[in-house]
C-alpha cells in the first residue's frame, strides 16, 4: 500500500523540466544492526530548495551526511552534477544544527575557514568573508568571538561560512532549530530570498511541517526506519505571492494539514 502511494506521489511530482543537481540512488545505510535507510532514491532539482521531513530518528541527518560525503552509504550512490560522491567536495557546503563554530576564532576567521581549508590566501579570503558577513547582517562583528554572539547570530556565521565557499549545493541540517521563534521566521524569509537570488541547490532538513511548507519548492516525506521516501509534495501556487501572504494561503494550509495527516500516526 505504501508502495502504490509512493509511486503515485512520484508520478505527480516529476515534471520533465527540472534538471537534477543531486541524485540519491538506491541508498541504504546500516549502523551495525540498525537499518537507517533502505533503498532510498530522491532527485534534488537544481536551483530549488528541497526539504527532508520526517519523524525523529528516521535518517534525515544520515541522508544529508551521505550527500555531504561525511558518511559512506552501505549501498547505492549519490551523484552531484553528474559526479559520483566519494567524499566531501568543494561543490557542497554544510550548515550545522549546532553551528560548529571554532570557539577560539573570531567571526572573520570562522567565516573564512572554508576558504582557508581550500588554500585561499589570507587577504583574499578575508575580503570574500567580509562580503558574506555583511550579507548575513553581521557587519561590525568581524572581530567578535562566537561566545559573544546570540544563537541567531552564530547561525548567521555558519551560513556565511557555507556561502563564502560558493558551493553549488547547500546542505542544511535543522539550521534554525536552535534559534528562537522570531529569529527563525526572519531566517525563513531570508532563506526564501537566498534561494531566489543565488542559483544554488538547497537541501534542508527540518522537524517543522510549517517551516518545510513555507520555504520549500519540494518536500520529501520520509517514514520511520528503515526509511525511504513515502511522498513528494510540490507546493505550486503560493510561492509567488510574496512572503507576507504565504501563511494564510489556502494551499499552504492544506499542505500543512495533509502532511500532518500522513505523519501523525508515526509520532508517539
Amino acid at each position: 500500500m505504501v508502495m502504490s502511494q509512493t509511486k503515485a506521489a512520484f508520478g505527480q511530482a516529476e515534471p520533465a523540466d527540472y534538471e537534477s543537481a543531486v541524485s540519491a540512488r538506491n541508498i541504504s545505510k546500516n549502523y551495525g544492526a540498525v537499518e537507517a535507510l533502505r533503498d532510498l532514491s530522491l532527485e534534488f532539482p537544481r536551483g530549488q530548495l528541497t526539504s527532508l521531513l520526517g519523524p525523529s530518528g528516521c535518517g534525515k541527518t544520515t541522508l544529508l551526511k551521505i550527500i555531504a560525503g561525511l558518511l559512506q552509504p552501505s549501498a547505492g550512490e549519490v551523484e552531484v552534477n553528474g559526479h559520483t560522491v566519494t567524499g566531501p567536495g568543494p561543490d557542497r557546503a554544510f550548515v550545522f544544527q549546532d553551528f560548529a563554530l571554532l570557539p577560539w576564532a573570531t567571526v572573520m576567521r570562522n567565516v573564512a575557514f572554508g576558504l582557508e581549508m581550500r588554500g585561499v590566501a589570507k587577504s583574499e579570503r578575508e575580503g570574500i568573508a567580509a562580503k558574506y558577513i555583511a550579507e548575513v547582517g553581521l557587519s561590525g562583528f568581524e572581530h567578535s568571538y562566537p561566545h559573544e554572539l546570540s544563537g541567531g547570530m552564530r547561525q548567521r556565521v555558519g551560513l556565511a561560512r557555507a556561502l563564502s565557499v560558493d558551493a553549488q549545493v547547500l546542505l542544511m541540517d535543522e539550521p534554525f532549530s536552535a534559534v528562537d521563534e522570531q529569529t527563525r521566521r526572519k531566517f525563513q524569509e531570508d532563506l526564501l530570498a537566498l534561494v531566489q537570488h543565488e542559483n544554488k541547490t538547497f537541501i534542508f532538513v527540518t522537524h517543522s511541517i510549517e517551516e518545510a511548507v513555507y520555504v520549500s519548492d519540494q518536500i520529501a516525506i520520509l517514514l520511520p526506519r528503515p526509511s525511504r521516501v513515502s511522498e513528494i509534495i510540490r507546493p505550486s501556487s503560493f510561492r509567488s505571492k510574496g512572503v507576507d501572504n504565504i501563511r494564510r494561503d489556502p494551499e499552504y494550509l492544506d499542505i500543512v494539514d495533509q502532511i500532518w495527516a500522513s505523519l501523525r500516526s508515526y509520532v508517539e
Binding site: L70, R92, A93, F94, A100, L102, P103, W104
Partner: protein, 250 residues
C-alpha cells in the same frame, strides 16, 4: 581573609606562620630550626654565592630541557592517542602505569643506564612530567565536539590541518591543565633526580649544607625552591584561565 573588618591581602596568614617560625627559632628548641630572620639573612648571602648560582643554572637547564621534552613529546602523543583507537589501546595501559608508578624508584636504574649526570636528571624530569600531559591531551581530544571535526572534514581539511587547526585548539584547555600539573611534577622530578644523583645542582648544594650542619643555608635554599615552584604553578594557572573562557562553550 578579613580581620576586625579589614580586608587583608592574600596570603597574609603567612605572616603568622613566619612569626611562629621566628619564635620557635629564638627559643633554640632544636638546631634544626634557626630563626626565620637568620634564614632570610642567610638567603641573601647564599643567593650571591657562585655555588648557588651554579646550582640554579644547572637546575634551570635540566628543568627546562626535561619539561621541553615532556611537552614536545607528550602533547602530540596524547592527541594522537585521542584520535586513534589502535594507538590508544597500545599506549594507554603504559601511560596509566607510569602515571601512578613511584618514579623515584626508577632513578637508580636511569643512573645506571644514562650515567651519573645531567642526562639522567633531564630524563627523570621528563618522566615525572610527561604522563599527565599525555593523559590530559588525550582527554581533551576525546571530549572534542564531533561536529567541529565533521565541519573541518566537510570543508576539505587535510589530516594535518585538522590536527593543528581543530584538535590542538579544541583540546587546549585540557592540554594546558595537563602541562601545569606536569610542570609541577617535573619540579619534583628535577629535585629528586638531583638529590639522588647529588653531584650536580641543588643536590650537590644540599649534600654540602647537610654534611656541614648549615641549617640556615639549607632552609634558605628550600625557601627559594618552594617560592620558584609556587610562582611557576601560579603563572601556569593564570595562562590556563586565559584560555578556559571557551572551554565551557565548545
Amino acid at each position: 581573609m578579613i580581620v576586625f573588618g579589614y580586608r587583608l591581602p592574600g596570603m597574609s596568614s603567612l605572616i603568622v606562620w613566619g612569626l611562629l617560625w621566628e619564635l620557635v627559632g629564638r627559643l633554640k628548641l632544636t638546631f634544626f630550626v634557626p630563626p626565620l630572620s637568620e634564614v632570610v639573612a642567610t638567603l641573601y648571602t647564599v643567593i650571591g654565592t657562585a655555588a648557588f648560582q651554579k646550582a640554579l643554572a644547572e637546575t634551570a637547564y635540566a628543568f627546562l630541557a626535561g619539561v621541553g621534552f615532556a611537552i614536545i613529546i607528550g602533547i602530540p602523543v596524547g592527541i594522537l592517542m585521542g584520535k586513534n583507537r589502535l594507538l590508544d589501546e597500545l599506549l594507554l595501559p603504559w601511560v596509566n602505569v607510569f602515571l601512578s608508578a613511584p618514579l623515584t624508584a626508577l632513578v637508580p636504574v636511569l643512573m645506571v643506564l644514562f650515567g651519573f649526570g645531567m642526562k639522567a636528571i633531564i630524563i627523570t624530569t621528563t618522566l615525572f612530567g610527561i604522563w599527565i600531559i599525555i593523559l590530559n591531551s588525550r582527554a581533551g581530544v576525546k571530549q572534542i565536539n564531533r561536529s567541529l571535526v565533521e565541519m573541518a572534514h566537510s570543508f576539505g581539511a587535510s589530516p594535518v590541518d585538522a590536527f593543528f587547526k581543530i584538535y590542538f585548539w579544541a583540546a587546549l584547555p585540557e592540554i594546558l591543565g595537563g602541562v601545569r600539573i606536569g610542570i609541577i611534577r617535573a619540579v619534583k622530578g628535577v629535585i629528586i633526580g638531583q638529590l639522588l644523583i647529588s653531584i650536580v645542582g641543588f643536590g650537590a648544594l644540599f649534600e654540602l649544607y647537610s654534611a656541614n650542619f648549615l641549617m640556615g643555608h639549607f632552609w634558605a635554599v628550600l625557601i627559594v625552591l618552594f617560592a620558584l615552584a609556587f610562582t611557576i604553578s601560579e603563572f601556569l594557572a593564570y595562562l590556563e584561565r586565559r584560555v578556559s573562557y571557551y572551554a565551557a562553550k565548545r
